[in-house]
Amino acid sequence: MEIFLNYLKVFAVGGFVCMLGQILINKTKMSSARILVLYMLVGVVLEVTGAFKYIKDFAHSGISIPIIGFGSNLAKGALEGMKEEGLMGAISGGLGAVAAGLTTAITCGFVFGLLSKSHSKKI
């Protein structure tokens, strides 16, 4: 039962976050790049103000799978690095925290990009 409730929370919060994005698209005709940047910056703000931790304790992946989690990781990495290594940590910590995700995405993009069969559209 508990696991069901847990997934219900994830579903509700994750769905709600996406629904807010859809409202933005419907009302302002924002492009997907702007939506993604906006959400990522929201994640940075949530992490800095400390609100992200509480939402994450409540909804787990519901908030960390949307790109808000990516922004929060960036801010968290920079702050943790700053505490451990001072200024150098503040510089390297942010990207260090999201390095795994970025590497996966870029490698997948490169491999699938090379494999894709869109040669037919050659101009």
Binding site: L36, A105, G113
Partner: protein, 147 residues
Amino acid sequence: MIERQEYQEYIKQNSPKSPMVRTLFAAFIVGGLICCIGEAIGDVLKVIFKTMSEKDVATWESCIMIFFGSTLTALGLYDKIGHFAGAGSIVPITGFANSIVSPAMEFNREGVFFGVCAKMFVIAGPIIVFGTVASFTVGLIGWFTTL
């Protein structure tokens, strides 16, 4: 010739209006489901690797989700989901993967260097730039406040 303003109004009248309720519902359902799949991957990882730390589970979870998103994009399925779900497929991390893989595949015809590698960042570039600058700013402000 028609005036710019007239043209804008013409566009406004004739551009397809996204029906509010249906698109919101679709975004909610698909976004929620994607987050649930992520949670399920995390739970399975916790069962298989009992000693894995919470942080590593979260990192693996997002890596696997990114991989799934990329694979679905490569198979052409993600765009179909996106057509139905709108923001429900953009906002999750799989949408970020889609925004990298999709242009990389599309611009394959322009060559490896300036096609695949450069156009990969058409949408992801702003995200990475804003993210890097924001994280550095946060770190720098944090550093100054603890001096």
